[in-house]
């Protein structure tokens, strides 16, 4: 067994943070190797060092026993390393073949030999059952295909090591299964695959070996077949984690959020939210399942008043807020945990006290005789930091320095501290480590049990299934199914998320 990749003593520092601290990471030739770790554990930085996007401060990289210097993404490509990023890096108006051969074009004199390009792509596509049409324009094909294009791009450059970056986040369960078959075929062809995921089930299903990072250090190197999901989680978090959720204690009560015929168009053209009707009752969590980009964000923003609507009504506790400002909607009882916590949910450069006070600064106890006071904001912040166990040096620390999980706790703490009746939670645990996921889920169920209504929008089927009483499936801006969470399977949801309503109706 040879070592395909051997990274020795890699250290990478950023101002104030050591991302990777003397990490040894090695991958055998011809294996699928999972790299795991909580957010901020340093795995992304480690892989971007291998792909030439960052340079290590210390340490050496060996490929097939030979020491190499990877100073740029081009060096990495020449050394046979290909990386598929989560955000695809393709030209939308070019064809698939043109994207694949970009910078390594087969030429015919000074001209691009389009036929040769198409042939080369078709060949790779056939060999690994990647099923793409070389002549299709990139902006005309679905996300799952784009990922295959990225893989072909790497194979066209003859990548012997393929790094996949959270590859299943944008895929339905069926597409994920297809991807796994491709990865297995590539492995059997002698290629090496480094697979980064946070989904334990996928690690167990596909990887041969696992390396776990915590706080920039390797905490475990395991052979998957001889390990268990519990063991891996334990190495990632340093403790045992329980993600099973208590079922609701009472039946849902009256309707608190009602949305009727809501339509939102994208700059007055394509409807991104298309005639959506939904009702959420007190004491229930309603999940919206859907592949990212099917109108979930727009729906949440429209309910909050952050996005103009073309048609429809929104009511909170029988109070029509369709024309109301964000502030009046909040007064009416709406709260919102947005997906983008750096860009919307917080002001990263402002400190903890200010971020936690925002919104609450309009009323007592923060506002007294029309005036604010720093000491009261600090007191308010300390109370929430303690209650939600947020790891922050002091209320005067800028929140942008916090890890993803703690930053999210800032948002959750602030929103749950309102005396609200509805909470819209959008990807509440994305990019958050397991410990924080556990805490946030607990807060959501507590909120529900106190009589709150939760609209949970998540790309994580496991999250939707474990928390929701009812599940709505959103596809291309429409609610295509309204299901009882108890009698729906992941497979059914997968079909519906991919737009296959007929498939389910027929079965």
């Amino acid at each position: 067994m040879t070592l395909e990749v051997d990274m020795r003593g890699i250290t990478k520092r950023f101002p104030g943070v050591v991302a990777d601290d003397n990490v040894d990471f090695s991958v055998n030739t011809g294996e699928i190797h999972a790299l795991m770790g909580e957010n901020g554990a340093g795995k992304s930085i480690l892989m971007s060092i291998l792909a030439g996007l960052h340079q290590a401060d210390e340490g050496e990289i060996y490929l097939r026993g030979e020491k190499v210097a990877i100073n740029s993404p081009l060096d990495a490509i020449e050394s046979g390393i290909g990386m598929v990023f989560q955000a695809f890096k393709l030209f939308p108006s070019f064809t698939i073949a043109e994207n694949v051969v970009f910078r390594e074009e087969p030429t015919h004199g000074p001209l691009l030999d389009r036929a040769a390009a198409n042939r080369a792509v078709a060949e790779i596509s056939e060999r690994y059952q990647l099923a793409v049409d070389p002549k299709a324009r990139v902006d005309s094909v679905p996300v799952g295909v784009l990922q295959r294009v990225e893989i072909i791009k790497a194979l066209y450059r003859d990548a012997r090591v393929l790094i996949l970056d959270e590859p299943t986040a944008v895929l339905t369960p069926q597409e994920t299964e297809g991807l796994f078959n491709i990865l297995r075929a590539l492995r059997d062809d002698g290629r090496t695959i480094i697979f980064i995921t946070h989904k334990m089930k996928e690690v167990m299903a596909i990887s041969d070996r696992v390396t776990v990072l915590r706080d920039g250090k390797v905490t475990a190197r395991l052979i998957t077949a001889e390990s268990s999901a519990e063991e891996i989680t334990h190495h990632m978090t340093g403790r045992d984690v329980d993600l099973t959720m208590a079922p609701p204690q009472q039946a849902p009560g009256e309707t608190v959020l009602s949305v009727k015929n809501l339509t939102v168009t994208d700059q007055g053209e394509r409807p991104v939210v298309d005639d959506v009707n939904l009702e959420i009752h007190s004491g229930e969590i309603v999940g919206i399942a859907g592949v990212a980009g099917n109108g979930q964000v727009e729906l949440a923003e429209a309910i909050m008043g952050l996005r103009a609507i073309d048609n429809g009504r929104v009511a909170v506790q029988n109070q029509d807020v369709t024309q109301a400002s964000v502030r009046h909607r909040r007064d009416a009882g709406l709260t919102y945990i947005p997906e983008d916590r750096h860009g919307v949910g917080t002001a990263p450069l402002a400190d903890g006290a200010a971020n936690l006070a925002m919104g609450h600064h309009r009323r007592a106890p923060l506002l007294r005789s029309g005036l604010l006071k720093r000491s009261r904001m600090v007191w308010h912040a300390r109370r929430l930091i303690e209650r939600f166990r947020i790891k922050i040096a002091s209320p005067a620390t800028p929140v942008g320095t916090l890890s993803g999980g703690n930053l999210q706790k800032i948002v959750v703490a602030r929103e749950l501290d309102y005396d609200s009746s509805v909470l819209i939670a959008e990807q509440p645990t994305r990019g958050v480590d397991v410990g924080a996921i556990e805490a946030i889920h607990r807060e959501l169920t507590t909120y529900r049990d106190r009589g709150g209504a939760v609209l949970l929008i998540s790309a994580e089927l496991s999250e939707i299934q474990s928390l929701s009483g009812r599940i709505l499936v959103m596809f291309e801006g429409r609610i295509v199914a309204d299901l009882d969470a108890r009698d729906v399977t992941e497979k059914q949801l997968g079909y519906l998320m991919a737009g296959g309503e007929q498939a389910v109706a027929a079965s």
């Binding site: 930085i45 970056d165 964000v326 925002m358 919104g359 029309g370 604010l372 720093r374 800028p398 942008g400």
Partner: protein
């Protein structure tokens, strides 16, 4: 700082003078003598005021680059009131201040409205609105308002008693008392006899803005809006309304500075280009940036830059340099000192760099893998 002065010295030598005596006269002309201090304070008043006007806007994330136009129009309207409104002089003066403030505020409101509809950024509209303000004011002074009796391109002189008075004008009782008791070279005497009451107004404004930022809802919301406008909107702040209010405030302060500069003693008529030539608006922008929009920083930075302006003026006079060369040296010293001040500022900002690194890191992390 040393490098700044060495480079400054080179320019003084290019201008054909001795750098050491140049710096001596610069120091004397700014902080080292009674007259110097008085000169510095005179310049610090509008400079601090303009920096404050810009700082309140920038702190809220509203990039008001039109402070110059707002100041000029405020000054023009104030002068119109003083020249044409009859009544008790003190009342006319007060009315001029109010009218000038309103003019600056309304002129500043235009870019805020343009941003709400059809969506022209405040930065662009406010900058462009400087030109009409500038040339309209110049035209008014050259033609309709020009005093035909005078050889200067200037308005009629203001009616008696409508200027903003000096603290202790030489003819007043207090002025005489100071002169007799402290002597003519005493700092207090000189300052009292040359600095007018707008000093008190600006000092009050600095304190008021400090209070606003720390204790009021508007101050808190505008600070958060400056950090992240999307976050403010999400939290229920009406972004368009806040921008409009901010521009009214910023333009109002700029307009008031314009009036107080135009009708503040010893000025007794408005000359063409009088406000423009001082460049207080743009130097004020620099002060506001270096002060990180904090009123306390604006006060300190404004006085410091006023000292450099006064000092280089004095140097030009003492060494009989042409005013252009003195202005070149002044500009270079300001730039170099801005660099110098920027270094400790950046060090204080390390936390923001960590934030940026963290965000970059998290983003990469989010791209690559979760959990």
């Amino acid at each position: 700082m040393v490098i700044a002065f060495v480079i400054g010295a080179v320019f003084i030598m290019i201008a054909g003078s001795d750098p050491i005596s140049g710096y001596q006269s610069m120091l004397r002309g700014s902080f080292g003598s009674g007259l110097g201090i008085a000169n510095t304070i005179q310049r610090a008043i509008p400079l601090v005021g303009m920096a404050l006007a810009i700082a309140v806007a920038f702190r809220a994330g509203v990039i008001n680059l039109g402070a110059e136009g707002q100041m000029i129009l405020g000054g023009l309207v104030g002068v119109l009131v003083v020249l044409y409104v009859p009544g008790p002089p003190l009342l006319v003066m007060a009315l001029a201040c109010v009218a000038g403030t309103a003019a600056g505020a309304l002129w500043a409101l235009i870019p805020a409205l343009f941003q709400s509809w059809p969506g022209v950024p405040v930065l662009i509209a406010s900058l462009l609105l400087n030109y009409p303000a500038r040339y309209f004011s110049s035209w008014m002074v050259r033609f309709p308002l020009k005093d035909p009796e005078s050889s200067m391109v200037a308005t009629d002189s203001f009616p008696a008693g409508t200027q903003i008075p000096l603290f202790a004008s030489p003819s007043s009782g207090l002025g005489q008392t100071l002169l007799n008791n402290l002597g003519k070279d005493n700092v207090l005497t000189i300052v009292g006899r040359t600095v007018n009451w707008s000093f008190a107004v600006v000092a009050l404004l600095v304190v008021a803005v400090m209070f606003m930022n720390a204790r009021t809802r508007f101050g808190f919301e505008s600070g958060m809006h400056g950090f992240n406008a999307n976050f403010a909107r999400y939290s229920g702040v009406h972004s368009g309304r806040l921008t409009a209010q901010t521009m009214l405030l910023s333009g109002g302060i700029a307009g008031l500075m314009g009036v107080m500069f135009a009708i503040g003693a010893p000025n007794n008529r408005l000359m063409d280009g009088q406000i423009l030539e001082t460049n207080y608006a743009w130097t004020g922008l620099l002060v506001a940036l270096l002060a990180l929009y904090r009123p306390s920083g604006v006060l300190i930075g404004g006085i410091f830059f006023a000292g450099i302006i006064a000092g280089s003026g004095a140097m030009g006079r003492d060494l009989s340099m042409s005013p252009q060369i003195a202005a070149v040296i002044q500009g270079i010293v300001i730039i170099l000192i801005a660099f110098r001040v920027q270094i400790p500022v950046r060090r204080r900002r390390t936390s923001s760099e960590v934030v940026e690194a963290r965000m970059e890191h998290d983003q990469a992390e989010e791209e690559v893998g979760r959990v």
